[in-house]
Structure formats: structure tokens, C-alpha cells
Amino acid sequence: MTTNTVQARVGAGAPSRAPHRRAHPLMRRREVAGAWTLMFPYIVLLLIGGVIPIGYALWVSFQKSPTLLEPDLTGFGGLAAYAKAFTDFRFAQSFIDIFSVLIIWMPVMIIAVVGLALLVHASPGRFGSIMRFIYYIPGALGGVANLMLWVYLLNPSQSPISGFLHALGLTTIKQVVATPGDLAVILSAMLLLQGLGQWVVTVNGGLNSIPDEILEAASLDGANAWQLAWRVKLPMIRQWIGYTALLNLAYGFQLFLEPYLLNQVASGALPSEYTPTQLGYWFAFVGHDFPSAAAMSVIIVIITLAIGLIVVFRSGLFSVEEH
């Protein structure tokens, strides 16, 4: 950990490497074997949960694209399924929809996570850990429980914020979710409340890894709590922030459950193919067209991977450059 930090502060640019140690061949082989042993469980899960499904999706996506009216369209179809997904009348809209959610949610999420984590870290002792626990509570309400909470919050006839909803002229839950522009904000709020706590804990872990000596040195140099947070802690947890951004982006991009269930709550008054994953679901289970559904998944994987790679390689968040 310490060497990493030192490297982070000293290293400049990519080529900087730790000096090569010439280890004994036997030692080296044992190290490699150990590494593989440690990685084995992960690789198995990666294969079952990631690589094989993606490979299968790739294979399916190059099949001909059938409909219930033409179920006999089978065999290799080249890019037909991709063409069908791209030209679908909901394709572009579903990406606009998901980006309209991400553009609201992501900045608020990152600022809130980092801000709260810095606050928690600056309040050591019992108060800090109580706050950390309080922030975590909404995150413990995963999935459906979180949705039920929101259905209760958004229903003007039951909600504790019904006064606010009535002031906006909204008297039914259908009006609340179906008023243009509301859905993106509601989904952002749902994602924020659900994810905030656990990411505060994660980033707080990053802050805890900063060696005390550095903070002490900064204090001795006359840095106040604000300067400590802004000039010392923040630069040192850049990787953690990048990691938070990356995983949240991937999670948010695959939004499915929340809009799907909200649509049922609103008696169908929302678009049933609001996000790209919902469109994929439609292709598979309503259109009975697995190749186009697979093509949608591949498109989503490519976009998420591309965003991930940009975050990893271009933003510098994962690099060893000095701030």
C-alpha cells in the first residue's frame, strides 16, 4: 500500500516501472501457480456469468431474426439482427432516455458520494461511524423493497411529501410518473438513494487507506480541514472515485427493474420500452426474436465496455500520473 502511494506521488507517465527483480525460477513458478490458484474461483465465475453468456449472445446475434409470423427464419443471418435492432423505431429513443437519466444521476451521485465520504472521514469516532451507518441504510433496501418505498413516496394519497406533490398539481401516482420529464428525475432519485450509502462506505474505505503520516504532515504544514479534504484527500482517492464512476455508469446503463415495475404501478402509463435493456427484453419475450435481443445486449456491452475503457485509459483515474 505504502509503495503504491509513493509510486503514485513520484511516478510520472506510463513508462515508469518498479525495478525488475530477478527472482529464482522456482520461486517465480510458485508465484505464478499461486496467482492462478487465487484467480481460479474468479475465472470460473467470470466464465459462467460473463464470458460464456457474452459469447453465446454474440453467436445468437448473428442468426437470422425471426418473428412469430416468420418463425422459420433460422440459420446464419450476418448482421440482420443488428440492422433490425438499429432500425427499430424505439432504438434511438431508448438511448436518449437512458442518457437523460444518467446525465442527471451521475454528477449528483459522484458529488454526493465523495462529499459525504469526506464529511464522514473528517468526523472520526462514534459520530462518524453512526453517520456512515445512517447513509448506508437506504442501500440495504435493495430491489423491490426500494421500489415499494418509492411507490409509497410518490403516491399523492399516501406520501409524506403529498403537500409538495399537490402543490405541483399532481393528485394521482399516474400523473406523478407520467408528467413529461418526471420519469428521468424519479429514476435518478431512486438510483441515488439506493446506491449512495454503499458507495460512501466504499470511498470511505479509500480515505481510510491514506496513511496518517501524510495527513499529519499536511496538518503540520498548516492545512485546515477544508484544505486537507480538497488538496490532499481528494487527489489521493481519485482512483476510488474513478472506480465508483465506472461501476455506477455500467449499473445505471443497464437500468431495467425500476422502469419496468414503475410502469406496472402506473397501470401501463409509461413507455414499456423506456431503456435499451427493456427494448432487448421486448425483442426476446414479446417479439420472440432472440437474435435481435442478443444484438441489443451486444450493443449495450460494447457501449459499456467503451465507456469503461475510456474511464480506465483516458481519464487518468486509474493511471499512476501525479496530480
Binding site: 425471426p66 409470423l69 437474435p291 486509474f318
Partner: protein, 442 residues
């Protein structure tokens, strides 16, 4: 550097997986429709029912203790796609289908027939099929054979609040034009009182099916006729536009929790015969002796009434079974379609099976919920003949398109004409996405 190494490991793993996949021969097929071979469980049957039909399955279990049965309750949201999702997966796996199902939405019969799930009832139980009148079973007649049985007949009648009508001195409308002008008058004279609902998936059945508007008009197996500019559509949309403009309709759907409040202010509305029992009495708990049904409404120039149909659930039976399992499934079919233990004693809707209609009506008369129960019940069975029979359930969900465009737009404060345009665009696009060729004239 670390990431690069990790990437190369990932690439290696991916390559191994791809090779493995190639070696495994990629034998599975993604083909949707396939009947496969028929199987026999040895007698045990599995039935899928929505929440209101659980009593039917329970009554069967009681009546036939000799038949082992597995009752599965499914998502009963009208327009939900969960059931379809399960079936698409069963089709891919070529196993897993239930022996009998009460479809949550009537549109479900379209994909169930196309995927080869539904058994040919004309062949399997011809005596049961003969027990229905032709119009009541019209939507089950698909590709030249009866592919489902109907639980209940659900034609619309005109429901009205007799207490309010008497108090305010209104006469009961007999034409759609009268309905429109009275609804506007009610909204002006008694703001807050309503003459209908626009927010549920049955609303297009209530107004567009009643007008015989070509939304679900099948030309042949792969071609549909959709034309919302047709005079049969515009007469309905013009009426709705006027009513929405006059605030005569609630933007709620009849199944919304909020509709319980709006329902207390319902003065009149076209609505299915089951509204009386299920909505007014059990769900909204309207006062006894207030609601009343009148015969349907007629369009200008027509001499007879023409009304829509809202649901009236469909039972489907598996074509993938044989032997004892099939025999037991037939017993189940006979029970839920025609046995008085379900169709008279328990069901809330007018039985579709002709022989059980009168016993059911007699039982309802004893309940005496309506202002004039005899007159109300007398409108039920004749209403079946007022429903246009050329409406087909298809692979696109007209009710779902209605809620995600018109119900959404009206709840969000848009004008009816904008909402109507959205509905037309989406309906055609969805029909095309399902694979149909869409024509605007026949």
C-alpha cells in the same frame, strides 16, 4: 500496466470460452414456434391462473380430488408480459408449459396460438365448443379452429347512477350522441362528476371497439388493417376529444387504486357487465341500490346498439400433452368452462357458456345490489349481440399502446388530439415491429 495484464488474461479466457462454445457444436436452436413431441405426466396437471381465478382451480380440486393438480398463481396485471416471457423460454427449452392457463390479457391468445401452445378445442372438446353462441367465442376462432374457451362474456352496457339521474332529472341516453351531450352537461352542471375513464387498457375496447374502429382488423395471417383516420375511428375520437376537453372523463384507469375515489363520482359510463359485481360492489363499494345498467348505445344512422367488450377471460389448454395428463386436462377444461360450482356459484362475470347464464342471473337476482336489479340483469345476455365480432386479438397489445400513449399523455396534461396522434403512430409501429404488414384500407 496492471490493467493491461488483466485485459490479456481476460482475452485469453474469452478465447478459450469461444473455442469451447464452437466445440460444443452450438446445437441449441432459437426457433420460436415448435410443437415438439407430446408428453404424459401420468395424470398430474399444472394450471396457471390469475388471482381472481384461483377459486376456480380450488373448486376443481375439491370437486375432483382424484386428479393431482398443481395450481400456480400468475401475474394478473392486464398488459404484463411476464407470462409471455415464461412461454418464450418454454418454447426455447421445448418443455415446461402448463396444461391449462387463464390468460392474464386476452391479447395473449394471439402469441399462444402462433407458438403452437393452444390445443384445437374444436377437435378436443367439440361438445364444449357447441355450448357457446358463435359471437361469444368469436375471438377464439383463430386460423380456422377454436383455440380457447371463454370464461365469461364481457359485453359493455351503459352503467349509470340511478340515484343521481333521478335527483338531477336526466334521461338515460340511448345513442352515443346523447351520451356525449349529457356527459358534457353533467361536467358543466356538476363539476367533478365524471362520465367515464380513459386510463386503463380496456378504454380502447370501450370506445374504439364499440365504434368498430379498425385497430385490430386482421386481413390475413400476416396483414392487419389499421386506419385511425377511418370515419369509424374519428366518430369515437371526436367524441372523446369533446369529453376530455369538457373534463367529463377521469384520466384514471378502472383498476387504479385512485379510481376508488373517482368511482364515487361516476354518473354514467359504458362498461362491461362485470363492472357491476367486480368494480361497483366489491372494489369501489358503491352504495347498494344506486347503480343501474341500460341497454347499449347506437351510433348516428344505425338502428341498433353497438358496444365494445372488455376482457371476458380466455382459457387455453396445452397441445403438448397426451394420455392421462390430456384426459385430466379435458376434465379441467369442462369444469372451468361449464360447471356451476365455478360458473354459477363463484364467478363474478356473466358465464360465456350459454347453459349457465340463466342460473347465474337467477343467483345475481338474489343479491339485489342494483337500483332495479331485474332491469339491470335483463340487459346482460342481450348485450353480447351488440359487440362487433370482427375484432381480433393480435400480436400487438392495443390496450398497452393506449395506456402508454393516451393514458400517459392525458395524465401528463397533453391535449387529446396530440395523444391520439401518438397512439396512431405507436400502434402502427408496434404492429410492424411484431412482423405484420399494415394496410390502411381493405
Amino acid at each position: 500496466m496492471k490493467t493491461r495484464k488483466l485485459l490479456s488474461v481476460t482475452t485469453t479466457v474469452a478465447a478459450i470460452a469461444m473455442v469451447g462454445l464452437a466445440l460444443s457444436g452450438c446445437t441449441s436452436s432459437t426457433k420460436g414456434a415448435s410443437t415438439g413431441t407430446q408428453t404424459d405426466s401420468g395424470g398430474k396437471i399444472t394450471v396457471w391462473v390469475d388471482a381472481p381465478r384461483v377459486p376456480a382451480a380450488d373448486a376443481f380440486k375439491k370437486a375432483h380430488p382424484e386428479i393431482p393438480i398443481n395450481i400456480v398463481q400468475i401475474d394478473s396485471t392486464v398488459g404484463a408480459t411476464t407470462t409471455e416471457q415464461h412461454f418464450a423460454q418454454f418454447d426455447a427449452a421445448k418443455k415446461g408449459w402448463p396444461d391449462a392457463i387463464f390468460f392474464p390479457s386476452n391479447d395473449d391468445i394471439a402469441w399462444a396460438a402462433k407458438t403452437g401452445y393452444t390445443a384445437n378445442m374444436s377437435k378436443l372438446t367439440p361438445d364444449l365448443v357447441a355450448g357457446y353462441t358463435k359471437p361469444v367465442l368469436a375471438q377464439c376462432f383463430i386460423d380456422g379452429k377454436y383455440q380457447c374457451l371463454r370464461n365469461d362474456a364481457a359485453p359493455d352496457v351503459l352503467w349509470y347512477n340511478a340515484t343521481l339521474f333521478k335527483q338531477w332529472g336526466y334521461t338515460v341516453p340511448t345513442t352515443w350522441a346523447d351520451y356525449q351531450s349529457l356527459a358534457v352537461k353533467i361536467a358543466t352542471e356538476h363539476p367533478g362528476y365524471i362520465s367515464g375513464f380513459t386510463g386503463d387498457a380496456y378504454a380502447p375496447n370501450r370506445y374504439l371497439w364499440a365504434s368498430d374502429c379498425p385497430t385490430n382488423d386482421q386481413v390475413n395471417a400476416t396483414t392487419v388493417h389499421i386506419n385511425l383516420a377511418d370515419p369509424k375511428c374519428t366518430r369515437a375520437s371526436d367524441m372523446l376529444s369533446t369529453l376530455v376537453g369538457a373534463k367529463a372523463l377521469s384520466t384514471d384507469g378502472i383498476f387504479d387504486a385512485d379510481a376508488t375515489v373517482a368511482g364515487q363520482k361516476l354518473v354514467m359510463s359504458p362498461g362491461a357487465v362485470w363492472w357491476g359485481n367486480y368494480l361497483f360492489e366489491q372494489t369501489w363499494k358503491l352504495p347498494k341500490g344506486s347503480m343501474q345498467a341500460a341497454p347499449g348505445l347506437s351510433w348516428p344512422g344505425a338502428s341498433s346498439a353497438q358496444m365494445g367488450d372488455e376482457g371476458g377471460g380466455l382459457w387455453g389448454f396445452s397441445s403438448h400433452i397426451k394420455g392421462k395428463e390430456l384426459k385430466n386436462t379435458e376434465v379441467f377444461a369442462k369444469f372451468v368452462a361449464s360447471d356451476p360450482a365455478w360458473q354459477v356459484d363463484l364467478t363474478t362475470g356473466l358465464p360465456a357458456f350459454t347453459a349457465q347464464q340463466q342460473p347465474w342471473l337467477t343467483k345475481q337476482a338474489g343479491d339485489d345490489f342494483y337500483a332495479d336489479t331485474t332491469a339491470t340483469l335483463a340487459t346482460f345476455a342481450p348485450a353480447i349481440a351488440t359487440v362487433p365480432t370482427d375484432y381480433a386479438y393480435l400480436l400487438y397489445d392495443t390496450g398497452g399502446e393506449w395506456t402508454s400513449t393516451i393514458a400517459k399523455d392525458l395524465a401528463g396534461g397533453k391535449s387529446f388530439s396530440d395523444a391520439w396522434t401518438d397512439f396512431g403512430t405507436d400502434l402502427t409501429a408496434k404492429a410492424k415491429a411484431a412482423g405484420y404488414t399494415v394496410v390502411t384500407s381493405k
